[in-house]
């Protein structure tokens, strides 16, 4: 049961009956004076039961307001009394609450007391009764309970008995998180009823057959329009009625409550209001805020939720005690703030910020302030910002107008200066910033440019490089660079050259003298100090061995040994992009006491070889190469294998060569090579090891540890075998890619023997033959000398002259020809042949007529007499080789066959030549009989006769004259079935077969 929310707990109202009370009190005091004697009687008669007991209802607040009086008390005295109250619900016997209320009561005073019900009072009838007891030590004899008053019924159920369902409470306003009990009264509705909260069914308990209650705990805030609770009859499935529970957010205490003044005219109080507790349907507006000042007693309703202005009066009030009260329909909260006005001064921001006397390194800043009175001193803070960050901060005490000299400025720089102020005596808050920007003018560059040079070996061309000056040293925009070249060996004019910015290099062509080069940078305000560099007549750079260094991702750490103690410094030069033609030349100058450094660059990439040169710079500003370093920030595995060429392939070895492979352009230091050899042999040769490749194949591995050894001979191989090889470079941590193996087959070893043995033999034979040919006459004389001609014999002349003239040697005409060979020839021009018939002289024709004495009978066999007449018209060359007269001739072998099978080229040519000559002389198209006989020289008349009696050959046939072939060139004889005529009639194609 709640008592606190009911608006009235107790109230007394005795004045209206004052006059009557005077008399009654007098009477009671009289009675009291007699109490000693009559106490027992009085105790029985004094009726302390509350009278005029009334109960009223505030159904919206769910409150029962009780009021009563106690008449029978002595007049004008206060008695401490206890009232016991019983409240029943539905019926008197169902007591739901009983409690005591202690208070002091005067005679005939009306006592008020309220009770808040959990349950809406409309849900059920309530009954109340009361009794009392005097709880006063002065009157112990009255310390007994009076009798109960009669039950007072409270019934606000004005809807009972109707056919409408009612839900209570109606439109209740509660705070988020509170517990609410609702009920419905179904009246005469007999159906089952279900109730829902925002669509979710809720379950309650039945108070009586028509009333059910639902306890909702910790109700949430859902919307400003309220939470809908409704009930429906299950059978009708129609919503009968409902109620809206307006759940307000909990009113929060204002946070960060603060007040300040900016001009001593207005106090501005601000706070964080927290959540807005406003509800729609006019259930609750936004919480209100009221400012109350206790010293002045003034109050102000604040229009805004988070701030309020309080006018400062001129009564010189310094101390303020503010109470900020916020309230809504459900709750009231307040916060307090006590302060001295002069401690809460928040000055206005300065204004009219100006700069005076701006030079390259200083400027005067001035500003004005809103006046706060003569006695106020402000602390102003001046800040100087450049390039987005604060550079300087200064504090200045100011009365009215501020001024500050800003020093240590940089030329040609844009600055922002700003100022804000606060109360110097009692710091409360800084004002807002006020500021402006300004730019200092340019000044001459303060430092010489960083200059270095490269010199091409063997020439006098010098390329000067310089780095742009930093903004700090440039003091403005660099317009150009001046280069002055002075010959140190012989007096001459200075050569000046002006190079516009932003160029960073120039090339000078010098002669063999020493030169001093001075470089300055200039802006609009002047030139920088000169950077001096000396180029000696002879560079004198000695050969320095390159040293390998290990780099990291952070750069290359290197050190060097100084050679002479008299140095100005050291210079390390390198190329950021050594693979590019321009190479992005870089250098780093170091002091004379530095012998180590770390060269780092964002351009450094893994797998790129960087070469560093360290120069010693003498006091004469001459550079000497000290050391050379090379290295990688990180070595990468070689991406390519060398292109290998196979040389000297023999049956037992071959040589691999990769001369074009550049070790310096690889992504790592090449430490050597691995040569992999695959073969069918299981065992590796000496010097090789077995290795397992990534594809699990096994091969032999030869290791070459010298990266400059770019040839390798694989030996001890087998002839006529296949081998596969792969050459891959290896670095200190990996090797090249596992590429494709190249196949090689070793040749057979016998062809070499043949070349070495047979070729010399052939050469010897050829030489011998040639020798024989050259000495043929000698050979003929030695081997087969000529047979003497009997006609030419001297013996014959002697016979003719001395003995019988009839006596003759056998005449040719006596010979009977035993074989005739017919040659048919169609080629040639008839006209030509006719015209040239007479020119066919015997010597020419006889050149074609190799005559042989051939057997006429087929059955001839045996070595018959062979008479061979010497014919002087015969071709001597052919006859030289002929051996017909000496070698036995097979009677079966026709002479034509021999001609066909002649293989001597010389002879064929000779034949062809003769043949062609004869073609020109023999009439074309005619059938020509070339009479081959034992006669040495056919007559022209014979020729004619032969023409007329010619055998007609098949048209379009080509014939060749039958020729006699020396026996020594003849092939073996043909078969017996060979037809003579068919063999001799030859087509042209067969001749050159």
């Amino acid at each position: 049961m709640l008592l606190r929310d009911c608006p009235v707990i107790s109230k007394r109202k005795p004045e209206s009956m004052a006059l009557f009370a005077v008399f009654q009190t007098t009477f009671l005091l009289t009675l009291l004076s007699l109490r000693t004697h009559q106490s027992e009687v009085l105790a029985e008669n004094l009726l302390l039961t509350p009278e005029a007991f009334k109960v009223s209802v505030n159904s919206a607040q769910r409150c029962l307001h009780l009021q009563w009086t106690v008449h029978n008390l002595p007049y004008n005295q206060e008695f401490k009394m206890i009232f016991q109250i019983q409240i029943s619900r539905t019926e008197t016997s169902n007591v739901i609450w009983m409690g005591n209320y202690s208070t002091t009561v005067k005679w005939n005073e009306t006592v008020h007391w309220s009770w808040e019900s959990e349950l809406p009072l409309e849900c059920a009838a309530h009954f109340v009764r009361i009794r009392s007891v005097v709880d006063d030590a002065r009157f112990p004899e009255w310390n007994f309970w009076s009798s109960w008053s009669s039950w007072q019924e409270v019934n606000v159920q004005d809807s009972t008995g109707q056919d409408t369902l009612f839900v209570f409470p109606k439109d209740k306003l509660v705070e988020e998180g509170s517990n609410v009990t609702i009920c419905y009264i179904s009246g005469n509705i007999q159906n089952d009823i279900s109730c829902y909260l925002e669509g979710e069914q809720i379950h309650g308990e039945q108070l009586d057959p028509h009333v059910s209650t639902f306890k909702l705990e910790n109700v949430p805030f859902i919307r400003k329009g309220g939470t809908n609770i409704y009930c429906e009859e299950k059978q009708r499935k129609a919503i009968s009625n409902g109620t809206v529970l307006f759940v307000s957010k909990v009113l929060e205490e204002p946070k960060d409550f603060s007040c300040e003044t900016r001009d001593f005219k207005t106090l501005i109080c601000t706070w964080d209001p927290g959540a807005n507790t406003a509800l729609d349907w006019s259930k609750q507006p936004s919480q209100s805020y009221t400012l109350f000042e206790s010293y002045s007693g003034k109050k102000k309703h604040c229009e805004e939720k988070n701030r309020c202005n309080w006018q400062i009066t001129q009564d010189s009030q310094e101390i303020y005690n503010f109470t900020l009260i916020t309230e809504n329909y459900l709750r009231k909260r307040s916060v307090n703030l006590l302060f001295n006005l002069t401690h809460r001064v928040h000055p206005m921001s300065p204004f009219s910020v100006q700069f005076e006397n701006i030079s390259a390194t200083s400027a005067v800043m001035t500003w004005k302030l809103h006046s706060l009175g003569d006695y106020f001193t402000l602390l102003c803070q001046v800040e100087l910002h450049g390039e987005g960050k604060m550079i300087q901060q200064h504090n200045v005490s100011v009365k009215a107008n501020g001024k500050y000299l800003l020093n240590e400025l940089e030329p040609n720089t844009e600055y922002v200066a700003q100022v804000h102020c606060a109360d110097d005596n009692h710091f409360w808050k800084w004002s807002e910033w006020s500021g402006r920007d300004f730019t200092t003018p340019e000044a001459a560059p303060s430092e010489a440019p960083d200059v270095w040079r490269t010199m091409k070996s063997g020439s006098h061309n010098v390329t000067l490089f310089w780095k742009p000056l930093s903004k700090f040293h440039a003091n403005g925009k660099i317009l150009f660079y001046n280069v002055a070249v002075e010959n140190l060996d012989k007096p001459s004019r200075l050569e000046h050259r002006s190079i516009p910015a932003p160029a960073n290099s120039t090339e000078l062509t010098l002669d063999g003298c020493s030169y001093q080069i001075r470089v300055t940078a200039s802006n609009s305000a002047g030139a920088s100090p000169a950077a001096v560099i000396v180029v000696p007549a002879a560079p004198g750079n000695k050969e320095v061995e390159e040293e390998i260094i290990e780099g990291t991702e952070d750069g290359f750490s290197m050190s060097w040994k100084p050679q002479s103690g008299d140095v100005m410094g050291y210079v390390v030069e390198w190329c950021d992009r050594p693979q590019d033609p321009l190479c992005d030349f870089q250098w780093k100058k170091l002091g004379p006491n530095t012998t180590s450094t770390v060269i780092s660059s964002d351009a450094f990439r893994p797998g790129v070889r960087y070469n560093f040169r360290i120069y010693e710079l003498s006091t004469k500003r001459i550079a000497h190469l000290l050391e050379r370093k090379t290295g990688y920030t990180r070595e990468l595995a070689p991406s390519d294998n060398p292109h290998v060429v196979t040389n000297n392939l023999t049956s037992h070895s071959f040589t691999l060569s990769w001369k074009n492979y550049s070790t310096k352009s690889q992504p790592a230091f090449i430490r050597g090579y691995h040569v992999y050899l695959k073969s069918k042999e299981e065992q590796c040769q000496p010097g090789a090891e077995k290795a397992v490749l990534p594809d699990d194949t096994v091969c032999c591995q030869y290791k070459i540890d010298n990266p400059e050894q770019k040839t390798f001979t694989v030996e001890n191989l087998k002839p006529e075998s296949f081998y596969e090889f792969l050459v891959t470079p290896h670095t200190s941590f990996s090797e090249g890619p596992s590429g494709t193996f190249t196949k090689v087959r070793t040749p057979d070893e016998y062809p070499y023997m043949l070349v070495h043995v047979i070729v010399p033999v052939v050469i010897c034979v050829v030489l011998l033959v040639c020798g024989c040919l050259l000495k043929s006459q000698w050979m003929k004389d030695k081997c087969y000398p000529d047979i003497p001609d009997p006609y030419k014999s001297s013996v014959l002349s002697l016979i003719k002259s001395k003995e019988n003239p009839h006596r003759t040697i056998m005449s040719i005409s006596d010979c009977i020809p035993d074989a005739i060979e017919v040659v048919n020839k169609q080629e040639g021009s008839k006209i030509q042949s006719l015209g040239t018939r007479k020119s066919l002289t015997e010597p020419e024709l006889t050149k074609l007529s190799y005559l042989y004495l051939l057997p006429t009978e087929k059955n001839y066999s045996g070595p018959g007499p062979c008479i061979c007449f010497e014919n002087y018209t015969y071709n001597q060359a052919a006859s030289d080789c002929a051996s017909c007269g000496h070698a036995p001739v097979s009677p079966e072998a026709p002479p034509s066959q021999w001609g066909l099978l002649t293989s001597s080229e010389n002879l064929l040519k000779a034949l062809e030549k003769n043949y062609m000559n004869s073609l020109g002389e023999i009439p074309a198209g005619e059938t020509t009989l070339n009479y081959v006989s034992q006669l040495a020289s056919p007559m022209s008349g014979d020729k004619d006769s032969l023409s007329t009696n010619a055998l007609v050959p098949p048209p379009c046939s080509e014939y060749k004259m039958q020729m006699a072939v020396p026996l020594c060139l003849a092939s073996p004889p043909p078969t017996e079935n060979s037809d003579l005529s068919s063999i001799t009639l030859l087509g042209p194609s067969e001749h050159y077969r």
Partner: protein, 215 residues
């Protein structure tokens, strides 16, 4: 733009050209009124969704069908079909005018309840549109020579719920107001379509019929 249209329609009765014989007749006015009715129908669909969501469940549930407890004073759009057919033009237009006069007044009451600026803006916008429709109907009636119905003294509709009228029942009334408004817009579309056909010459009627079919 719609506000301009509504304003123009509101002032339609004052346009002398529409009151003269020999003008295009009431056809265009009726067509415009019909179009405005359809547009309002579309606009109300959006507004009702927003407003019923603001009321919360069960009012935004699709099958919500509460008893018409406090909504008896709302003009009913539902009418017997035969009765509707037998209505003459004057009575038909008068019923429309009276209904929207009442509904507009009730609708302005909703604006007082709603706290969110967005909802207030939507309601105000719809009220302006409805005001335009009322003006448009008045214009048609003026064109046809019908007098505007005069509100009887003391019968001016008000939106002052009594103390016994709970907020839940008030929400129910709001639901019914939106529902009745929608029904009235449906009915008005039919009313003006019927009037439109009736007022147009037969030849033109064929054309318009085709257009309507296409729409």
């Amino acid at each position: 733009m719609l506000a301009c249209l509504c304003t123009v329609l509101w002032h339609l009765p004052a346009v002398p050209a529409l009151n003269r014989t020999g003008d295009p007749g009431p056809g265009p006015s009726i067509q415009k009124t019909y179009d405005l009715t359809r547009y309002l129908e579309h606009q109300l669909r959006s507004l009702a969704g927003t407003y019923l969501n603001y009321l919360g469940p069960p009012f935004n549930e699709p099958d919500f069908n509460p008893p018409r407890l406090g909504a008896d004073t709302l003009p009913r759009a539902t009418v017997n079909l035969e009765v509707w057919r037998s209505l003459n033009d004057k009575l038909r237009l008068t019923q429309n005018y009276e209904a929207y006069s009442h509904l507009l007044c009730y609708l302005r009451g909703l604006n007082r309840q709603a706290a969110t600026a967005e909802l207030r803006h939507s309601l105000a916008h719809f009220c302006t549109s409805l005001q335009g429709l009322l003006g448009s109907i008045a214009g048609v009636m003026a064109t046809l020579g019908y007098p505007l119905p005069q509100p009887l003294p003391g019968t001016e509709p008000t939106w002052t719920p009594g103390p016994a009228h709970s907020d839940f029942l008030q929400k129910m009334d709001d639901f019914w107001l939106l529902k009745e408004l929608q029904t009235w817009l449906w009915r008005s579309a039919k009313d003006f379509n019927r009037l439109k056909k009736k007022m147009q010459p037969p030849a033109a009627a064929v054309t318009l019929h085709l257009e309507a079919h296409g729409f």
